[in-house]
Amino acid sequence: MKIGDISKECGQLVTIQPSDLMPLPYPYDKVEKDRAMSALTADQKAQYEGSLDGVVGVGIPKPATKAEEEALVGKFLSGLTKLFEKENNWTFLQPVYHSLEYCVKCQICSDSCPAYVASGRKEIYRPTFRPEVLRRIIDKYVKKKNRVLLKLTGSDIELNWALVSRLAELAYRCTLCRKCAQVCPLGIDNGLISREIRKIFSQEMGIAPKELHEQGSIRQLEIGSSTGVNPKALANIIKFMEDDIEERIGRRIKIPVDKHGADLLLLHNAGEFMSWPENTEAFAVIFDAAGIDWTLSTEIAGYDAVNYGVWYDDVQLARISTRQAEVARGLGVKKINVGECGHAHKAMVVVADRVLTGDLNIPRESALPILRDIVVNNKVRLDPSRNNFPVTLHDPCNIVRLMGIVEPQREILRKICPQFREMEPHGVDNYCCGGGSGFAIMQSMNFPDWRSAVSGRMKLKQILDVFQDVITPETRKYVCAPCSNCKGQIRDLFNYYSVWDECGILYGGLAELIVNAMVDVKKPFIEWEWR
C-alpha cells in the first residue's frame, strides 16, 4: 500500500489474518493454534471508526454529518499547528522537531518494532509510517508548500476525516517502547511522534481512549485512583492486606498509613491493590523485616502511582505529578519511592523532573535499588532454594530502556533464584510486553485481541523461547515482571493463548520472589495458581 492510501474512503484499510502473523515457537508453532482476532460487530462498525485495521482502541464515534467531519478535521489541523508553538508545546518541541525534520527514512528501525514484525510486517505499523503521514500533512497544510515542492517532496496527501480518524487509531498501535528510537543512528524517535499525535487528539480535540482519560487520569484526580478506589475503600483494602499477610506469614504487620515525617512514601500502582495484592503485601513484609521507615498515603492521587498523562497528554501528566508531589510534601517525607510500575517510574522520577519546582521537587527514586540493598546486603534472611524453579525476567521498557535501571533487579534474581535465565534480547534491548503506553488497560471492543495477537506476540515468543527446554506444564516456571501494566498485559496474553495450561508458566512481581525466599516466612508466598 502507498502512504497516501490512508486518506482513501474505502472501508477497512488492512486486514490481519492468523496466517500473516510472525510464527511462534512450540507449542504454538502451528497456525491453527492462532485464533482469528474477533471482528467488530455490525453495530460497532456502524457506530465507531474502525476503518484502519478493523480494530477499535480509541472508540471514536462516527460523525453524524459531513459538516461535523470537517469541523473535526479543522480541529486536528489547529492542534497540529499548536504542536509547533513554543507556548503550547515547549514540553516536546525540540524532540518532535528533530524527528520530523531529520529522518532520512532508511527504515533501519522497522525490524526493531515488535508490532510491525509480529503483524507480518503490515505497512501501517511500520515505525516510519505515522511520522511520514504527519510530515506530509504538515508540508501541505501547515507549511503550505507550493505544488512543485509538494511533488518534489512527495507530500501530496489529502487531509480528510478518513485520514484523521485512522491516524487517531494508528497512534494507538505503537506501544511507545522506543526500541525504534534506540537503533536510529540519527536519534530519530518515531515513538515520540505517536505520542505527539495522541496529544493533538487529547489536548485539542478531547479525544482519547476512555480507559486513559475519563476512567483514567480524570478519575484519578477526582476520586484518587484510576481503579475507582477512593480513600475510604483504600482503608478497607489495607485492612484486608494486613489480614492476608497474617494468614500468609503467620504474624501481623501494621501497614503504616499517612505517617508524617517517614523516610519514604511508597507509591504503588493502585492496580496492584486490586489485582495483585500479594505484591503490595510483599513490599510491606520486606520493609517491615528490613526496618524501613515508610508510609502509604490515603490522600487523593497519593496512593496511586499511575500517571497516564505520560502516554497521551502533557497537561494531565503535569496535573498528576504535581498532585502526587503535593501529597508527599504534605506528609513531610524525605523521598518518594515508586513500586513495581514502569510508566510511573518514568513519569514520576524522570519526566516530571521538569514539571516539579521549588518545594515540590522532592527526591524521587525507584523501589528497585532499595530492594537490592535489602537483598544483597542480607538485611533479611533468604534461602534461594525456595525459588528453585526456572525464572526469567521481563524488562519493563520504562524502567530499563527509558530510565537505565538494569542491574538491581538482576542482582536480586541472581542471588535468590538459582535457575534464573535471561530471555533474548534483554536489558535495554528488550522487547515491550505489548501492553505499553496504556494498551494493557484498554479493553475496548476487539482491541485486547489485537494486543495479544500482535503487539504482545514478540514477548510471548521470547518467553516461550527461554523456557523451551522445560516447556511442558509439569515444570512450573515464573516470569518476573516488575511492572503492573506489564503484568496486566502478560495476564491477558497468557489467557489468550492458555499459556498456564499449555506450558505451566506463571507471571508475577519481584517482591513476591523475595518474600518467597525469606527464611522467616514459613509457608511459600508464591501461590502456583492461575489468576
Partner: protein
C-alpha cells in the same frame, strides 16, 4: 567565465554557511523540553550495559559524573563506521558507507585544496618534487582524498539510487527529491573524477583556482574543471534544502535529547528556565483544559 566562476564559488560557500548557521540557530533556540532520554546514556558509569544513576540508592546524594568526550568519540566512531547500518542492514551499508566516505573526503579534499592554495600563495611549492615536505604531503593527501572521494562517492550515489528504486521498503518512502539528490551527488563525484582523470591529474589547476580566489587574481580553468566547480557549487546551494544537515543535528539530537539527563535541582538555572516555561499561557482547547491559563495554573487544577 573566470570571474563568474569565482563569484559563484564565493556565493555557494557563503550561502551554505549562512543557511546552515540559520538552521543550527533555529534548532538551538528551541526551548528546554521535558526529559526524554534513552539508555544507554553515554555519560553514565554503567553506559556499557545501559545503566544509570537511578540504579543507586539515594542517587541524588551521589556526585554526578559526566564524561562529555565519551559522547563525542562515540559519535565520531559512528560517523567513521556507520556501525548501526553495518549491523542491521549490510546491503544498504555497502552503498551508504562509500557515499558518506565520499562526502567526508570531499570536505577534506577541499580543505586541503584551501591550505595548498594558501601555501602556494606563501611561496611553498605543492608537488611531489617540492623541496618542502609539507608541499609533498599536501600534494599526496589532496590527490588521495580527491581520488578516493570521487570513486567512493560515485559508487555510493549510483548504488543508493539503485537500492532506493529496487528495495520496496525504501521505495515506498522515497521522494523525487531523494532521487534528485542521488543523481546530483553522482554528478558531483563523476565530474570530479573526469576533471582529475582527463584535465587536471595533479590537481595543480584546481589549486591555482583556489589561490586565485584568495588573491582575487582569478585564473582560467579548463572546461572539465569548470564543470566540476559549477556542479559542486550548485550542490552546495542545493544541500540546505535537503535533510543533509543531519550531519550536525545528529550531534544535537544525541546531546540535547537522547542523552540529556540533567536533573532539575532546586535553585538551579535549569529550574529558572522551567519556571519561565511553566508561566507561559496555553491555548489548547480540549474540554479538560482551560485555554488562557499558564501551564502552572493548569497543573494545579484537578480538572
Amino acid at each position: 567565465m573566470d570571474i563568474f566562476l569565482a563569484i559563484f564559488t564565493y556565493f555557494a560557500y557563503i550561502f551554505i554557511v549562512v543557511m546552515y548557521s540559520f538552521k543550527a540557530a533555529e534548532y538551538l533556540r528551541l526551548p528546554t523540553h521535558l526529559r526524554w532520554e534513552l539508555y544507554p546514556v553515554i555519560y553514565e558509569t554503567g553506559h556499557k550495559y545501559g545503566g544509570s544513576r537511578y540504579e543507586t540508592l539515594n542517587w541524588w546524594l551521589e556526585e554526578r559524573k559526566r564524561h562529555p568526550f565519551r559522547g563525542f568519540f562515540f559519535l565520531l566512531k559512528e560517523y567513521l563506521h556507520l556501525g548501526e547500518y553495518f549491523h542491521r542492514n549490510r546491503s544498504y551499508w555497502l552503498f551508504l558507507y562509500p557515499w558518506h566516505v565520499g562526502f567526508m573526503l570531499i570536505i577534506l579534499f577541499h580543505t586541503l585544496c584551501f591550505f595548498g592554495a594558501l601555501f602556494t600563495v606563501s611561496g611553498i611549492t605543492i608537488s611531489d618534487r617540492s623541496p618542502d615536505s609539507i608541499g609533498i604531503a599536501l600534494h599526496c593527501t589532496t590527490l588521495i582524498s580527491g581520488f578516493v572521494s570521487f570513486v567512493a562517492g560515485a559508487f555510493g550515489s549510483a548504488g543508493l539510487l539503485v537500492k532506493r528504486l529496487s528495495d520496496p521498503n525504501l521505495r515506498a518512502y522515497a521522494t523525487p527529491l531523494n532521487y534528485i539528490s542521488y543523481v546530483f551527488t553522482l554528478a558531483v563525484f563523476l565530474s570530479g573524477l573526469c576533471s582529475w582523470a582527463l584535465a587536471d591529474p595533479t590537481l595543480e589547476e584546481y589549486r591555482r583556482f583556489w589561490a586565485g580566489l584568495m588573491t582575487l587574481n582569478y585564473t582560467k580553468v579548463m572546461p572539465l574543471t569548470a564543470a566540476h566547480i559549477i556542479i559542486f557549487n550548485l550542490f552546495l546551494v542545493f544541500l540546505p534544502f535537503t535533510r543533509s544537515f543531519h550531519y550536525i543535528t545528529r550531534f544535537f539530537g544525541y546531546f540535547l535529547i537522547r542523552w540529556e539527563d540533567t536533573p532539575n535541582l532546586r535553585g538551579s538555572k535549569l529550574e529558572e528556565k522551567i519556571e519561565r516555561m511553566l508561566n507561559q499561557r496555553i491555548t489548547w482547547s480540549a474540554p479538560h483544559i482551560k485555554a488562557g491559563q499558564t501551564w502552572k495554573e493548569a497543573a494545579s487544577n484537578r480538572t
